[in-house]
């Protein structure tokens, strides 16, 4: 059987299951004896085993099988949950994750057998014959499943199985059938029973549907196609279809599909409809009573196996090919470009304005809709951190607790994929450098448990993620000494710097304050990488710290990446875009109001001293300055402000951000480019690197 086409489904589902496993294990570590959790873990292991076996991943199957053995003993109360046992289970989880990673990369599970883990699992089982207990289970299963069928009365059983006979049609469907009969097509009712061992039922059903669609036209299915796709069906489903093929052909085609247990096909005739229908309904009622009896044992059977096959998933996800989304995105971009083009047309016609407004409304809506599809909750990234902190706490011999909030905050998919590593860095830092040892904490009058906070929330057009700890905070003097020591700053500079400036030195390359290089962090390749990465995503990072109280890293990320509101400005004859969300206000400043502090031009704006940045100089525009007053755009970067001197304002515009391409990656000051309505390219200023 060729299963490669299900590889992606397998990977996605396996990931979900592993995540559940992770959560359940972490939960189990906290609460001593929780039967539900053991059941949950058992279920996940069992499902994974089944999935892996279907896909032919033998080593995964072996591992999950042994896990299952141990878990089943726990369930039976024969083994108690110990720290050691949990460690082994965590190792299993890691091993399974490795298998999945390997599968993602190469499509095969690799050569690693993880024999040590399996040995440990078997050691835990020691004294009990794992195989025997497992064999106990199997026959009882098959007995259960056979019984009800054997007991059922022959005649009624037929009806029960031919479930399509119990279904009624609505007007539309009746019409379709009658019309087909008039045109001398055959109408069939088909009930298909899928094998119990089938793991990817919806995928199997999909194949069946495809086969059926090749043979005729499907007019009705029960349950609905949507429900079948969502796996909301037991083991069987019924379809009605119009076809010119013979009954035997259907039986032959359907029986040739793997994992199809039984197929029932009946030709259907609709005439004198009313009577026929009553008769059918009558029969159906009889059938239903019988069915009710049958359902019971089959449910018990499912419980016996500890597997709830049709448990609805809490997190309903849509899997969309990112390339398709990108394509949609590009179309929207085009639309916006057209809109901008329309705007530049010189026309006072009322109609024209209405059209533009309409177009604007569409593009805005379309943009929102597309953006929403791309949005993913940060939970996707956050959910691996409880485990990270747990492992770090063990490694560092610290008592750590992670508090998370705002997991539901949504971010663009591309940002989500990139933000993981920087956050891991920051959390490691918080656990390793941030938190003191328990004894130290006690001495300084804190509780022994160190808290690490991870919060996400939306703030206007930004998403803010904060990583905070209640540890010792950053020792400014230590940072200063270190910076002086390795020559990052001179004595004079050090004296002139504010505490905040010094703390920000941490973001300079090769700067680590950890006295000892540990396994966890402290190799000096930390915060600068974090900063670079976040800036590459169009965000920024700042740090707030208080000695003895802890520190907080605040990451600000743009909600959307591709389309932003921007202020277009003019410098000589060149046009530049400044992202609107960074702009605070725009001021007219007289040249005579410019003051100098340490050779830096500043203005005093309502009590705030704001440095002035001459864009023309930085951007290499040569000209003479003669003007008496200048237009200054005041921008924010975190708490910092700066004023950009521009020659003129063009206006606010929605712009589509494009990159400058691979050949121009190292251009500082420029964040990207955009295409204006007239087809010209304008560059987007990178406020982060300018301020």
């Amino acid at each position: 059987m060729d299963v490669s086409q299900y590889l992606e489904i397998f990977i996605e589902e396996a990931k979900e299951h592993l995540q559940n496993l992770n959560e359940a294990l972490l939960e189990m570590e906290k609460s001593d004896d929780n039967k539900d959790l053991v059941n949950e873990i058992f279920r996940v292991a069992h499902t994974l085993k089944g999935m892996a076996a279907t896909m032919g991943f033998k080593k995964m199957t072996v591992l999950t099988h042994d896990m299952e053995n141990v878990l089943s003993e726990i369930r039976n109360g024969k083994i108690n949950i110990s720290a050691e046992l949990l460690d082994v289970l965590f190792q299993c989880l890691d091993a399974l994750e490795q298998y999945i990673d390997q599968i993602i990369e190469t499509g095969t599970e690799g050569d690693k057998t993880n024999q040590p883990i399996i040995d440990r699992l078997n050691l835990i089982l020691e004294g009990k014959d794992a195989k025997a207990s497992q064999e106990d289970e199997k026959p009882s299963e098959s007995e259960n499943s056979q019984e009800p069928q054997a007991e059922a009365i022959q005649d009624d059983q037929e009806t029960i199985k031919r479930k399509h006979k119990m279904l009624s049609f609505n007007e539309f469907e009746k019409n379709a059938i009658l019309k087909a009969q008039e045109e001398s097509y055959n109408v069939y009712g088909i009930t298909i029973v899928i094998s119990e061992s089938c793991v990817l039922k919806s995928a199997r059903a999909f194949i069946i549907f495809r086969t059926l669609e090749g043979l005729g036209q499907i007019i009705k299915s029960h349950p609905s196609v949507q429900d079948i796709e969502d796996e909301k069906f037991d083991l069987d489903f019924s379809v009605f279809l119009i076809s010119s093929e013979s009954q035997d052909k259907f039986l032959k085609e359907l029986n040739s599909i793997a994992e199809v247990e039984e197929v029932y096909v009946d030709e259907i005739h609709l005439e004198g409809t009313v009577q026929n229908f009553e008769a059918k309904e009558h029969k159906a009622q009889e059938g239903e009573q019988e069915e009710a009896q049958e359902v019971k044992p089959s449910k018990e059977k499912a419980d016996n196996k500890g597997q709830a096959p049709t448990k609805p998933k809490a997190n309903r996800t849509v899997r969309v090919d990112i390339e398709r989304l990108d394509n949609l995105m590009n179309l929207v971009s085009e639309l916006i470009i057209v809109k901008n083009g329309l705007e530049t047309v010189e026309n006072n016609n009322q109609n024209m304005n209405e059209q533009i407004e309409y177009l604007e409304r569409i593009t805005t809506n379309l943009h929102d809709a597309v953006m929403k599809v791309r949005m993913v909750p940060v939970e996707r990234v956050f959910n691996r951190f409880p485990r990270l902190v747990r492992d770090l706490a063990r490694k560092l011999n610290k008592n750590l607790e992670l508090h998370m909030s705002g997991e539901e905050t949504e971010l663009d998919r591309t940002v989500i994929d990139e933000i993981g590593d920087p956050l891991v860095h920051l959390i490691r830092n918080a656990c390793d450098h941030g938190q003191e040892m328990p004894a130290e904490r006690k001495n300084s009058g804190k509780s022994e448990i160190g808290n690490v906070y991870l919060d996400a929330y939306q703030d206007g057009n930004n998403v803010v993620i904060e990583v905070a700890d209640d540890g010792n905070g950053i020792d400014v003097e230590k940072v200063k000494a270190k910076a002086l020591n390795n020559g990052t700053i001179t004595r004079d500079q050090a004296d002139a710097m504010s505490d905040q400036d010094i703390v920000e030195l941490l973001f300079k390359p090769s700067f680590s304050t950890a006295d000892q290089i540990s396994d966890v962090s402290g190799r000096g390749v930390g915060l600068d990488v974090v900063k670079t990465k976040i800036e590459a995503l169009g965000g920024d990072i700042e740090v707030k710290t208080k000695l003895g109280k802890g520190s907080k890293f605040i990451i600000r990320l743009p909600l959307t990446l591709a389309i932003i509101q921007a202020l277009m400005v003019r410098l000589e004859d060149e046009k530049y875009a400044i992202p609107l969300n960074t702009i605070q206000n725009i001021e007219d400043v007289k040249v005579s109001d410019i003051k100098y502090i340490q050779n830096q031009e500043v203005i005093n704006l309502r009590g705030h001293v704001i440095p002035i940045i001459r864009l023309d100089g930085l951007l290499g525009i040569e000209r003479e300055r003669t003007e008496e007053s200048m237009t200054v755009v005041i921008v924010n970067k975190g708490d910092k402000q700066a004023g950009f001197v521009v020659d003129g304002l063009i206006g606010q515009q929605e712009i589509v951000i494009k990159t400058l391409g691979k050949y121009l990656t190292n251009i500082k000051l420029i964040a990207g480019a955009t295409i204006l309505g007239d087809g010209e390219v304008a560059l987007i200023l990178d406020v982060n690197s300018l301020v």
């Binding site: 085009e334 494009k658 251009i667 295409i675």
Partner: protein, 150 residues
């Protein structure tokens, strides 16, 4: 790409362009498009040979002055000036040329490889000389001109 060409009876096609009086050949396989000079948006702090970026049907494409890279005189933009859009490793870049002349076909026999001088950076930009009758066409190694190995 190369091997596919070989099968085609070892015939390679080149676009012949002109810088000053000299003729140069660019392998047609990597050429995406030839466009007239559009408005170029200058990119501050870019290398001198990058003249800026242009909009080619909604795509931002950097434009490079081959003349500056070859340390010839600055480009004189005339009605004959064209930008040849080439794509190497999936990245498009435009090359400014004085004039586009024709497309020629060269068999393996007509192409004479030249050994590049390791000390001379510029010699890497050329990988062979093509002979068309009496005329000689210098075949450009576009990959190394734009900084990617072809």
């Amino acid at each position: 790409m190369e091997t596919k060409q070989m099968k085609n009876e070892d015939i390679k096609q080149f676009i012949v362009v002109k810088f000053g009086h000299e003729q140069y050949g660019i392998n047609i396989q990597i050429v995406q498009n030839i466009v007239r000079m559009p408005n170029i948006t200058r990119v501050p702090n870019a290398p001198a040979y990058i003249k800026g970026v242009i909009n080619l049907r909604g795509e931002i494409i950097p434009v490079m002055s081959v003349r500056v890279k070859f340390e010839l005189d600055e480009d004189q933009f005339t009605h004959a000036t064209r930008i040849i859009i080439v794509k190497v490793d999936g990245n498009a870049i435009g090359l400014i040329v004085d004039e586009v002349l024709e497309v020629i076909q060269l068999s393996e026999a007509q192409i004479e490889k030249i050994v590049s001088d390791a000390d001379d950076e510029k010699s890497k930009y050329v990988y062979a000389v093509g002979k068309v009758g009496e005329e000689l066409v210098t075949l450009l190694n576009v990959g190394s001109i734009i900084g990617v190995e072809e």
